[in-house]
């Protein structure tokens, strides 16, 4: 019998249409981790809403959570669609899938501005340093010096998705690697509990166009150069925290999320404080110098109000179920209004 979660649902209830992405594509592995995360978090699939732009990465939502609503929008415009849509029912969790082209090229503006607004959304950049769907052009995150078949050599310094997020004061910034599924899953779980924008820069190799070992977005490079900022465990309920195995107090940090869930970070090399934004910037700079793939939760800020909070909507009913008599002003008011004219 298939394993079920606390809701009595099996993993099959969280699947989507069969993938049409290439075999081995990093995006497929992200899809699996999203499915597992939502399943393990005991969220009904209806509680999640999927968004995406255009690209192979942006097709991913089709291949997961078939029982969740989804909107595969326009190239680079996922953030605005998600922003408008999620106001429809604030009890829902939004997951946005985007690509490096989608977010760092055409979508740079919306990427930066959804961060600025701190809109609650799990924002995944499936970063393969290339345009997959249009067959292998450079993306803004392509390595400098990368050589691609029809494109020659890329002369530009890559956009660093996490650095951009930090520059825009993102409240949750993580980098991870599709070749490290466990970490991907843990970060997705934590991101789903974050009250604000959660930027996940997931290095997700494109096996068709940018998986040569010299590319920093390849599986091989990632496997060989990944360095963990910390080891992570996510506990949806603070009470259940047991410091598993080798985790000893003093070597761990606990990040308590807005809803009381806890992310436990175990020190690997040094003590890293993800609430220190400047430390995150420094860590990124160092990683670049050392030529490593530094993964983990770079930064979190659980204090800043999210965009949806600013509006203080009625919270007894989802906004999109609000009946007519709570939306249309009372008939009496029209007289007052006309009196306000001249």
């Amino acid at each position: 019998m298939a394993k079920t979660n606390a809701l009595g649902l099996s993993i099959a209830d969280y699947k989507g249409a069969p993938t049409t992405l290439c075999q081995g594509c990093g995006h497929n592995s992200i899809i699996s981790q999203i499915i597992s995360a939502v399943f393990e978090e005991n969220l009904p699939p209806e509680a999640v809403v999927k968004f995406s732009g255009i690209g192979c990465s942006s097709k991913a939502p089709t291949y997961m959570l078939g029982r969740s609503f989804g909107f595969n929008g326009l190239h680079g415009r996922m953030p605005s669609l998600a922003t408008g849509a999620l106001f429809g029912d604030l009890s829902l969790i939004g997951i946005g899938m985007s690509g490096d082209g989608d977010s760092a090229a055409i979508g740079m503006g919306q990427f930066k501005h959804i961060i600025r607004r701190n809109m609650p959304l799990v924002y995944i950049v499936a970063n393969n340093g290339v345009y997959g769907l249009t067959k292998g052009q450079f993306s803004p995150t392509s390595d400098r010096g990368l050589k691609l078949k029809k494109q020659g050599v890329n002369p530009f310094e890559p956009v660093d998705v996490c650095m951009e997020a930090l520059a825009s004061n993102a409240t949750f910034v993580a980098r991870t690697f599709a070749g490290d599924p466990k970490q991907v899953k843990t970060l997705i779980k934590a991101a789903m509990h974050h009250n604000g924008i959660a930027i996940l820069d997931i290095i997700s190799p494109c096996v068709s166009f940018n998986n040569q070992p010299s590319s920093t977005q390849s599986y091989e490079w990632g496997k060989q150069h990944e360095v963990l900022l910390h080891e992570m465990q996510f506990h949806p309920d603070a009470k259940e925290i047991q410091l598993h195995g080798e985790m000893k107090p003093g070597e761990v940090r606990e990040v308590t999320m807005h809803d009381g869930s806890v992310l436990v970070l175990k020190q690997v090399e040094r003590d890293y404080d993800p609430t220190d934004r400047f430390a995150a910037i420094r860590a990124l700079e160092e990683a670049k110098e050392k030529h490593i793939l530094l993964t983990g939760l770079l930064h979190i800020d659980t204090e800043r109000p999210s965009l949806t909070e600013l509006y203080e909507l009625p919270d007894d009913t989802p906004f999109n179920r609000m009946p007519q008599d709570r939306l249309r002003p009372a008939p009496e008011s029209i007289q007052t209004i006309n009196d306000l004219m001249f």
Binding site: E46, G66, T83, F87, D89, L92, F319, Q324, M341, F342
Partner: protein, 610 residues
């Protein structure tokens, strides 16, 4: 500009039938003075309309405000100015020339008059002196200086001082400080005029009873209020002249009108986006999620929204888009009016698309379409454009009071959990894009619906009736044909045209939007002065209904009057009635100013002669 002598009424006096143009420098606060004059005249019961002709700049450039006073209720722009009030040294020459023979020039007495005219009356005004004496703080000196012309004008043409006080009271929301400061200066100026000027001109105001039952409102405020009464829940916007004030005004009215009776919290989310792409993107997201959702823009904004609007069209997302049209192409004349986005909106995005357009004629209809637009959008599951313009949006219109929505909200075909259960029981299949009722409009579900079969996947790529990805040529064709059906069905659902007929009409006139007053007036002249009777159809929506076809069919010749270069509405009409396309003649001008009755009449007369 053509100069025509005003037909004087009895005793040489011209009563309640002339135009005043105030020429000032923008950013000096003259808007308050101009509104005060306009409102005071309105309160005297005399039909009046003010139009602001302003530059695209914040401070220091010439700006004109023209006030049409018409006992007969003709409130369109006129080209002739009986009275000119000159406050700007940069334009004084033109301003003097602009006074029609027999007319009046009021001028600030510190201006050097570069030319003299002996066919007009000239009144100097000691603007600086009185402003200095007013006791207003130096900072406000320029600002209150504009009150001088209010006072002088009031005295000379007879504006009721009580009504001026009422106008100020309204403007300053009852705040005594500014009311007294300004009123004091107006009184002083009036007193000065009384003592120092001798009335030599024929223009006079006399109280009437013709504005009772009317209000004065600008179209953007009306649109904002209409939307609030329409239950708008989400607004994504980006500032752009002349649309900005629509949402800005809405934002101000939200706490007043849209406090949830149950929780006391506001029920509108208004987000200033980073640009128009994001504004419409948010709006579409919200519309998709089941919120009543709108954006408001102009010019460039509409162009930038094209890609997203094609998505909303094909994915069938209800949203409302206000296009407060301004002078274009390109950045064009951002502070002038035009009706130039008609064909662009009709063909807004790549591939075959259609657009529903509502076309209000004034502030009152802006209010009405403000709420109705949501009903059409949700009923038809498609973007609905409201084609307003700068003249409607930013000028004060004398209109009937806003009327509370006469119909309950039509939320269209939305299925919730219990509906889906019911359908299941009845063995009815639900598919997001399934044409169950044969009217082309499918049923939709929205996020948060917890029924396990409620969810579907929305995309701008090819999809079948169950929202599944498809590249199948037949599926593609079928879906696009069904969508077309919605558009065809919309013809008879949207606001019907308004038709005015006369006995023995020689031809028909078709027009729309803010052209209406000028056309009404032109028809009056055609009849009175030339003995030519006309029929008139005012379009209120696109696609056109049967009435439009019938109207065209029943006339041998029709003039389509509009404010653009290419006769865009005529083009859409021609496409609709290819067999009668050659009956439609274009009377089009898009120079940034509202059309005038004289221009319309003369152009038609010339074309009649050809």
């Amino acid at each position: 500009m053509a100069k025509q002598t005003q037909p004087a009424s009895q005793n040489g006096a011209v009563v309640n039938d002339f135009s005043i143009t105030v020429s000032t420098i923008n950013g000096t606060g003259s808007q308050t003075s101009n509104l005060t004059i306009t409102r005071a005249i309105f309160k005297m019961g005399i039909p009046v309309q003010g139009k602001n002709i302003f530059p695209s700049n914040i401070q220091g450039m010439p700006t004109w405000y023209t006030i049409r006073i018409s006992k007969e209720g003709f409130l369109a722009r006129r080209e002739e100015h009986e009275i000119v009030i000159a406050m700007n040294p940069a334009t004084i020459k033109d301003d003097i020339e602009d006074v029609m023979p027999g007319g009046v020039l009021f001028y600030a007495d510190h201006l050097k008059l570069p030319i003299q005219r002996d066919d007009i009356t000239m009144y100097p005004m000691p603007v600086k002196k009185l402003a200095r004496q007013s006791g207003a703080p130096t900072k406000l000196r320029d600002y209150v200086a504009n009150m001088v012309y209010v006072g002088v004008l009031a005295e000379i043409i007879g504006i009721d001082m009580d009504k001026i006080h009422a106008a100020l009271d309204f403007h300053f929301k009852g705040k005594e400080g500014p009311i007294n400061l300004n009123y004091g200066l107006i009184e002083t100026a009036a007193q000065w005029a009384k003592e120092n000027l001798e009335k030599k001109d024929p223009y006079r105001l006399e109280p009437m009873d013709a504005t009772k039952g009317y209000i004065m409102a600008d179209g953007n405020t009306a649109a904002a209020l209409g939307a609030l009464y329409g239950g708008v829940q989400f607004v994504g916007w980006y500032p752009i002249t002349p649309a900005s004030s629509l949402v800005e005004t809405m934002n101000q009215y939200i706490p007043k009108l849209r406090k949830d009776p149950k929780t006391g919290k506001n029920t509108v989310v208004s987000v200033q986006a980073e640009d128009e792409l994001a504004a419409v993107g948010m709006t579409i997201g919200a519309g998709w999620a089941g919120l009543r959702s709108m954006t408001s823009t102009s010019g460039a904004g509409i162009s930038l929204m094209g890609e997203f609007l094609g998505l909303a069209y094909y994915a069938e997302v209800p949203i409302v888009v206000w296009d407060v049209q301004r002078g274009a192409p390109s950045t064009g004349l951002p502070t002038r009016v035009m009706q130039g986005d008609i064909t662009q909106v009709a063909f807004i995005s790549q591939g075959d698309t259609d657009a529903i357009m509502l076309i209000p004629k004034d502030a009152q209809e802006a209010f009405e379409f403000g709420w109705r637009a949501f009903d059409y959008a949700e009923r038809l599951q498609t973007p609905v454009f409201v084609m307003s313009d700068l003249d409607i949006g930013q000028n004060q219109w004398m209109v009937k009071p806003f009327e509370y929505p006469t119909e309950p909200m039509d939320r269209g075909k939305i299925l919730w959990e219990e509906d889906l259960e019911q359908w299941e029981k009845e063995g009815k299949a639900w598919g997001r894009y399934l044409d169950v009722d044969g009217d082309g409009v499918p049923y939709r579900t929205v996020i948060g619906n917890k029924h396990p079969k409620a969810a579907y996947f929305t995309r701008g790529t090819g999809h079948d009736e169950f929202a599944r990805y498809s590249e199948d040529p037949e599926v593609w064709t079928r879906v696009l044909k069904r969508i077309k059906k919605k558009f065809e069905n919309a013809r008879e659902m949207l606001p019907k045209p308004e038709i005015g007929t006369m006995e023995g009409a020689s031809f028909g006139i078709i027009s729309f939007g803010s052209n209406d007053p000028a056309i009404q007036e032109a028809r009056h002249y055609l009849k009175e002065e030339k003995g030519i009777a006309t029929d008139y159809l005012r379009l209120r929506a696109y696609p056109f209904s049967q009435e439009v076809k019938d109207f065209i069919a029943s006339h041998d010749k029709l003039y389509v009057v509009e404010m653009n270069r290419d006769g865009q509405m005529r083009q859409l009409l021609q496409l609709d009635v290819p067999d009668m396309a050659d009956k439609l003649f274009s009377v089009a001008k898009g120079d940034g100013l509202p059309l005038t009755a004289r221009w319309i009449m003369n152009t038609i007369l010339e074309m009649e002669e050809e």
